[in-house]
Amino acid sequence: MALFTFREAWRKKVALIAGVLTLAFLILYGTGLHFITRDMVNTVNPAANATSYYAMMQAITLFVMGIYLASFLVAGLAILAAVGSVAGEIENGTLYTLAVRPLTRRDLLLGKFLGLAAMLVIYAALFFLALAGLVYWQTGLIIPGLVPALGLFILEPLVLLAVTMLGTTRLSTLGNGVLAFALYAIAVVGGMMEQIGAMMESTTATIYTGVITSLLLPADAVYRRLVATVVDLMPAGNGQDLPRFVNPQMTLGPFGSQSTPSDLMLFYTVAYIVVLLALAVYSFKRRDI
């Protein structure tokens, strides 16, 4: 069933369309990266080179911006790929012949999840590595913490996939799409508020807003943890320029991770995916088709 779902996404040209759009994004991003890197380094600090702290921070800032935008594309693909995987198939009548085969509804649903997850993992990994490759090509910086950051970037669409899979067992395709995108928007806005609150050393209420939205959908929290991983593992630099007197997260502004999600939050995210999938299986098993 997983292979069937993966092949379906492939043959329906979901991957091709996403790939073409992603390529367009990468070309645009690469062009911007090229000119920004050249101009900023030369203008602000002509002495800087790839190993200087300033140049590394600049490269990471540009990488984080790219990752932030890439998260939207990956999240969009995760939601759109799964939004009608049960409800849509019931609406158009393709699920009947599959659901009477000798496989349990759990296997049917988890097969669909695994097929879509495989596609999203490959897509997200290629996207991430392409961004990291472009940054390396233009700035000479190997992204610090590349492997754990890659793992976190892959985790993000899986969170959205789990939410959307649960939704599709009960809601119509349209209703599920609206809910998933709304939840994602809330998580992003909440995460942004949390960072701004932390930067301004503001009231705990602002920060808690982000915490609550992260509990609701921990997609943005995973992104923040990714940024924290990259920045925390950044080398100290060659000492030619800026000393490390500013919190580097501060320089990333609302895209940074002033308020970094803990290990517990990561554990929560993994548990969140497992629990939502279990709920999706439970819900699918109980419904009439």
């Binding site: 012949t97 009477v100 000798p102």
Partner: protein, 305 residues
């Protein structure tokens, strides 16, 4: 031995009763027809029997297992009504996939897929994308998918709805071949002639309730007309019979009237003989399935106001 058994199967959606306490039993090797007007609850009943819809009350067993049990599903094929197949696959590929799901290994699955493509008249069409199939071809492919696992029991919900007369005939031949091979077929159909030609037993369902069931011949032997050629019928006896049988028609020496059941024919003849009539010929009328169907459905509508 009953291979399909339903005991008081009931399905309620909110305040609407789709099926009410349906009891039926189908013996192995029979072709069973389920008839009923649109919205009678036929598809809901079939979906309960194949485990797609959960009953509100009652229970069922198919091939010895509750619907939805994996062991039972290995022995069941299903062609749903208003289905669609995955258009991005090729016909043969889709059937091979279904055969794999039905527990056949790779090579056997491909062979079986080719076999059922031939069976439904789609030889040579297996390499086309399903999306490019005509409606009739998709219906045949759906039937092939139902049969690809070599099931003991096949549920077919309106299998000829999208087919032309030639396609219908071909499906009838497939049904008869399945019957000959000892398979059990549960046929849900609007087409009374189709049911009449292939089914051993039928049930008629109306407003979620089974209103008649039995062997086709038994149902056709139910409420009947009779035509009697006779002589010596007196005015008094004719008036008495008119009171008892309002449908009575007398044309020359032919008396035609509708009876509650065929057993009444003997009573009627005895009364005529006792009244001094000479009986030359008694011809019982045979109900068509359509007559029975229309009669029972109208009766149900009148009862519900």
């Amino acid at each position: 031995m009953a291979i399909i058994e339903a005991r008081s199967l009931t399905k309620v959606y909110g305040r609407q009763v789709a099926c009410r306490e349906i009891c039926l039993s189908v013996e192995e090797g029979q072709v069973f027809g389920l008839l009923g007007p649109n919205g009678a609850g036929k598809s809901t009943l079939v979906k309960m029997l194949v485990g797609l819809v959960y009953p509100t009350a009652g229970e069922a067993r198919v091939a010895g297992y509750p619907p939805g049990d994996i062991r039972g599903r290995r022995q069941v094929g299903f062609l749903p009504e208003n289905f669609r197949l995955h258009g991005w696959m090729k016909g043969a590929e889709l059937l091979t996939f279904h055969a794999r799901l039905a527990s056949l290994d790779g090579r056997a699955a491909r062979q079986r897929a080719a076999g059922v493509l031939d069976l439904v008249g789609l030889t040579g069409e297996g390499q086309k994308l399903v999306a490019n199939y005509s409606k009739g071809m998709q219906q045949r492919l759906g039937l092939a998918a139902a049969l690809v696992g070599d099931p003991r029991v096949v549920f077919l919900d309106e299998p000829t709805s999208a087919l032309d007369p030639l396609g219908r005939r071909q499906v009838r031949e497939i049904l008869l071949a399945l019957k000959e091979a000892g398979k059990t077929v549960f046929l849900n159909s609007h087409l009374l002639s189709e049911v009449e030609q292939v089914c051993d037993r039928v049930a008629i369902i109306n407003r979620g309730t089974v209103v008649a069931s039995g062997r086709l011949a038994e149902l056709q032997d139910g409420p009947a007309t009779v035509t009697i050629r006779l002589g010596g019928l007196t005015e008094e006896l004719a008036a008495e019979l008119r009171r008892r049988y309002p449908s009575l028609q007398l044309e020359g020496d032919r008396l035609t009237l509708a009876l509650g059941d065929r057993e009444e024919i003997a009573t009627l003849v005895a009364r005529l003989v006792a009244g001094g009539c000479r009986i030359y010929e008694v011809v019982p009328g045979r109900n068509s399935l359509e007559d029975i169907f229309v009669h029972l459905v109208r009766e149900g509508e009148q009862a519900c106001g």
